[in-house]
């Protein structure tokens, strides 16, 4: 059932490219239909897989002479992330209902990207995972370069090159692991059992981990993220922050930690308190949390605030992974889900609901527009999304970040303290953006008054796809926040198995 998410998306992309041009309505409804169908398959797979361990979905020899299999499987982590992908994909289409320029191609690239993402989450063969991982790069580039806004070609090329450099590192790691294990199989399960030497893991782990972490927005390799998010069209930035960054984090977990558990072992010496790759990456994660939050505090562009907040929130995911304990890693996976929903919502509000109406994202200009009164729906939505993003109890982000912090405390208390600072700054930047964009009392200057006069009638009413999308994402975040067991019961056994090593 889960495998159909992949097939449907790619088939949808192909059909979308061949649909008659000049009928944007058809293209939209078709894309929505495909995404909803894929979501239903993903949700069905999630429900069917509750309480189950890892299940093999498809296992067909692909290149028998090299031991490469078309091996799709799902464990709890995969199921949760597939569910996230389905939700983010549907929401993204709802928020790109107003794409009129080259609509068919837009949705073709969009569905191809989604297909690649589903594929990564379901692949249990390193080679296959890599193939899907790379398939996702090209549609990203075109989505941003063609339909983007601010400095789109720069942002798109930067993102494509960062992704490709990251995947080149992963490819080197793949080839190295494959040849070191005796060139028999590229299955993640077989490679994990291959008994790769510790000395090999110690250098291959950071290579693969950084390769994936580039896409997860790990500081200092995060610089593609703000520019990419800002340049991207709304749906693409929702997907970038919502699921594509999760691809990186997922790779770090599934491949990095799953395949090279000894890569995290102590080096045997320590330098200013850092004695293993675990310390290194945890430090980078913490820096990312605080740095992302601080930079978000200083932004003048509304979308950059959200862009940097993503870097900060993804820091929690990476920190959670580095705790290497049950609760921390579980929190990291839940944070992937939670951030995917919340970041998607924030980008939708900023990019679609606000920017497409006001045509500016400068906080200084938004201040004078009194959007709180003129777009009450947007203001309400952003208040809720902002609260979720700050990690208020009742939303999914709270449960996730709490678990990460507890896990970090168990591992090394100072990590928790530093990350806690990040949360406090998170409240500050969200509050600042919220206040400036929606609830400012600043009187308009003469110039903006004139502009506003022009715009006064042009603030279009909120449309039904926007309402549907916001309601869907908010209710998911709330539901998970109030009843986290629904995801945790699925995530926990999978994390346990993965941390136990060997069979993953």
């Amino acid at each position: 059932m889960l495998a159909w998410t992949i097939y449907l998306s790619f088939a949808g992309a192909l059909v979308e490219a061949l649909l008659p041009k000049g009928k944007p309505g058809l293209a939209r409804w078709f894309a929505l239909g495909v995404a909803v169908l894929a979501l239903l398959h993903g949700a069905g797979g999630f429900v069917a897989g509750m309480g189950q361990g890892r299940q093999i979905i498809v296992d067909a020899p692909w290149v028998p002479s090299m031991g490469i299999h078309f091996l799709l499987a799902a464990d709890g982590i995969s199921r949760v992330l597939v569910l996230l992908t389905g939700l983010a994909a549907v929401a993204g289409i709802l928020f790109s209902w107003n794409v009129e320029y080259r609509t068919n191609e837009f949705f073709a690239f969009y569905l191809a990207l989604i297909g690649g993402v589903y594929g990564v989450f379901l692949s249990f063969d390193f080679f296959l995972l890599f193939v899907f991982y790379e398939i996702a790069i090209v549609p990203k580039y075109f989505l941003i370069a063609i339909w983007g806004s601010t400095r789109r070609e720069y942002g798109a090329m930067k993102l494509a090159l960062y992704s490709f450099v990251g995947s080149a590192m992963v490819l080197i790691g793949l080839l190295a692991a494959y040849s070191t294990s005796g060139s028999h199989s590229t299955s993640l399960i077989d490679l994990a059992h291959a008994g790769l030497p510790v000395s090999f893991q110690l250098w291959c782990f950071p290579l693969v981990f950084i390769g994936f972490a580039i896409l997860a927005g790990m500081w200092p390799f995060h610089t593609w993220a703000p520019t990419g998010h800002v340049a991207a069209p709304t749906a693409a930035s929702m997907l970038l922050a919502g699921v594509v960054m999760k691809l990186g984090a997922y790779g770090c977990l599934r491949v990095g930690i799953g395949l090279f558990p000894h890569g995290l072992d102590p080096w045997g010496f320590s330098f200013i308190g850092i004695g293993s790759w675990r310390d290194v990456f945890a430090l980078l994660a913490v820096i990312g949390i605080v740095y992302g939050a601080l930079v978000a505090l200083a932004q003048t562009d509304f979308k950059f605030v959200i862009g940097y907040s993503s870097v900060s929130h993804m820091g929690f995911v990476l920190l959670g992974l580095m705790t290497l304990n049950q609760i921390g890693v579980t929190g990291a996976v839940l944070q992937m889900f939670s951030h995917g929903i919340i970041a998607g919502l924030l980008f939708a509000i900023v990019g679609r609901i606000v920017y497409d109406r006001t045509h500016t994202r400068q906080l200084a200009e938004l201040e004078t527009m009194h959007l709180g009164r003129r777009l009450p729906f947007a203001a309400w939505a952003f208040v809720i999304a902002g609260m979720a993003s700050m990690g208020l109890p009742g939303f999914s982000g709270f449960v996730a970040e709490l678990q990460v912090l507890i896990g970090a405390w168990i591992a090394k208390p100072w990590w928790t303290i530093a990350a806690g600072v990040g949360i406090v700054i998170g409240v500050a930047y969200t509050w600042r953006a919220l206040q400036k964009a929606f609830f400012s009392d600043t009187l308009p200057t003469a110039r903006t008054l004139e502009q506003e006069h022009d715009r006064a009638h042009s603030l279009a009413a909120i449309t039904w796809p926007e309402i549907t999308g916001v309601v869907m994402l908010v209710s998911v975040s709330l539901f998970v926040g109030l009843y986290p067991r629904i995801l945790l019961d699925t995530i926990e056994p999978a994390v346990k198995a993965l941390l136990a090593g060997g069979g993953q």
Binding site: V131, A168, I172, L175, Y178
Partner: protein, 518 residues
Amino acid sequence: MNYPGFYSDLFRATLPETALEIAALLVLIVDLGFLRTATLKTRVAVAALLGVAGCAAAAWAVAIAGPYTQGNDLLLAAGGSAGVAQVGILVLTALTLFLLIGSDFTRNAGEYVAVVLMAAAGGLLISAAQDLLVIFIGLELLSLGLYILTAFAKSSGKSAEAAMKYYLFGGMSAAFLLFGFSYLYGLSGSTSLPRVVYGTYMASAHGATPLLYLALVMIAAGLGFKVAAVPFHLWAPDTYEGAPAPAAAFIASVSKVASFALLISISSVALHFYSELHFQILRSYVAVTTSNGPAHIAPGIPTAWPTVLVVLSAGSMLLGNLAALAQSSVRRLLAYSAIAHAGYILLALAFFSYSPISTNAILYYILTYGLTTIGAFGVVSVVERATGSDRLDSFLGLHKRNPLLAAVLLVLFLSLAGIPPLVGFWAKFNLFAAVLSVSAGPVPFALVALAIAMSAVSLYYYLQVLKRAYVMPAIDETPIKAHPVTLIVLLAIAAAVVVLGCFPTLLQNWIASFYPVI
């Protein structure tokens, strides 16, 4: 001579070449004799179709040629990797002939096709050659054809200039090659490849290593020129830019396949004898030098040759990819990318194993690369005819001007960049896995890492073209028309790139079918 029944078998071994030559003559007779008054269109179509028929006949001849793969005093091998390369050459030649149908750079269709077929015959010869003299004759036959093809657009100054440069470099490199061959002959007293390897091995054991190195560097210069490896690559950008598009496609694909097939047979002969000699000599040395522990094996071709290849490979990967970043002409860009791709393949030749893993990976790479590059030149030629230039900016708005052509370009360039699931990715993976399966030491590993890093660089320049085709606004939105035959060929190539990428075993099994079942 080792052929069981000498003349009949020799005839059978050279049947493919004979078929091509007959087809070439037939084309000339038909074109110059019967179709003097026909329109150019008919003449081009008839000549190209006759050429394709010749290729088909030759491919059939390859299939029935008996397998002679190894042995002393063999002039031409048949079957095995030579057979794969030969069929590959014929298929690619046929494709470039199809591209001719849509182009109009020449009025002398018959001559063009005849020269293509003769050059292809040279390619067939060198991919099967097991003797220095046959190698040289085959190379000259191929090269002379290529010089003529480069100059074939007689009204274009660029074409003439490119041909002149190509010819001068080519003549020089042929001289180097011959010089190197003469040293090999002097060292070994034979022109047969296996005997040469054996002889040089013995000679270098007696202290003639410097001379052997000199010979190998000379030969590397000659063959490095053919595959456009740094530092013998200087002709490539100019030739790719100036030659008429079908000729450039021929040079970029067929000539590359043939040259790499030759490199494969040199490397595998060297290894074959190395693995046998290794034990014999080891035994005799141990008997003599008991005090020094394990015997020191004097370096013969097997160790000197990889060293030379590694240098060429690293240089080509670096310079090819970096120089391609700065190009504004798509043809020159393709030339530098060809240099880079040659670098990847040379890496696999440097770390070569006697088992067919390396051979198959190289053949897989070069055949699919040839296919992709023919398609790329096909697209460039169509755009060039419509816009009058091959600058990057002539591709602006291609997705509007001809969506199918743009889609083909997208598939082919992404494949060249090595994006899965296209065939270029699989070829690269296969190639690098082969290198690491031969030796997983730090040196091959570092080189593979370099190759992968460089292919990350390459995405940038391929995207530069695709960006213009898909992203940037068009200046001129008039549709570009492609000749239907060209379009069908291009679509077929793009489809093959996708299908072979998704099902890599198709081509692998086909290659494996050429080896005798053991």
